[in-house]
Symmetry: C2
Subunit: 138 residues, 2 copies
């Protein structure tokens, strides 16, 4: 995606009381949903300007450039907004894996026929190789 | 999906301060993301027991059986949870359209090359035919 000014999009967004909007990240090739994270106004601006996803980490209370630590950046291909203007859907080309636990998608567990959670994917990288022994997101 | 007890899933979920968890709804056939809405514990239980999506409407502060008014129910095929246990991904077979504005997906607007929002889909039903002149979700 070419660098874009976010003003028109920002005008249409409705934010939580904390000034955030949820962003669903979808792989444009497989159409798998990779993750959901939160963006503040700055993250939306950076995402559209740089063409890589930026978020706001609620736990760390800080800006977060996805892939900054791991190299697993997300190249943005499209940004859609829902009817209410309070959710973003970001289409990306994912480098490596989206999940800090080593999986391509954060949704690697599914409820099985017994109602239990079952891991349904294989890891694509070893989290400790990428983040070191203390796993931190990125 | 057969009726399932939600206890194992509920044990693994982390809720917002309001007791909610965001649920991304994805079409299992096209893999399009249809919508995102919020579930409370009751909605999660009803969704797994009945095999149709139930949500909690924050604006109406009430339980919400998707499709109750419109007939546009969502038949649940799969329920996945993310690594942090704070987002659900629900795979469905959608009857009609997910969006109360008449579109198959709520994400019918996309940022175009000029940074402006552009409608990228055709409606699949007339909202006023389904909901009457005053459009209410359902």
């Amino acid at each position: 995606m070419n660098p874009l000014d976010a003003s028109a999009l920002l005008n249409d967004l409705k934010w939580t009381a904390d000034g955030l909007v949820p962003a669903i990240v979808q792989d444009v090739e497989t159409k798998d949903v990779l993750m959901m994270a939160w963006m503040d106004e700055t993250a939306v601006r950076h995402t559209l300007r740089t063409g890589q996803t930026h978020f706001y980490s609620r736990s760390r209370r800080a800006a977060w450039h996805k892939g900054e630590t791991s190299g697993h950046v997300q190249h943005v291909e499209s940004v859609a907004v829902d009817c209410d203007g309070d959710v973003l859907l970001v289409g990306v080309r994912q480098v490596g894996g989206a999940c800090h636990e080593g999986y391509r998608s954060c949704f690697f567990r599914r409820v099985n026929a017994d109602g239990r959670l079952e891991v349904i994917a294989e890891p694509v990288f070893r989290a400790e190789d990428v983040y070191g022994p203390g796993v931190a997101k990125g």
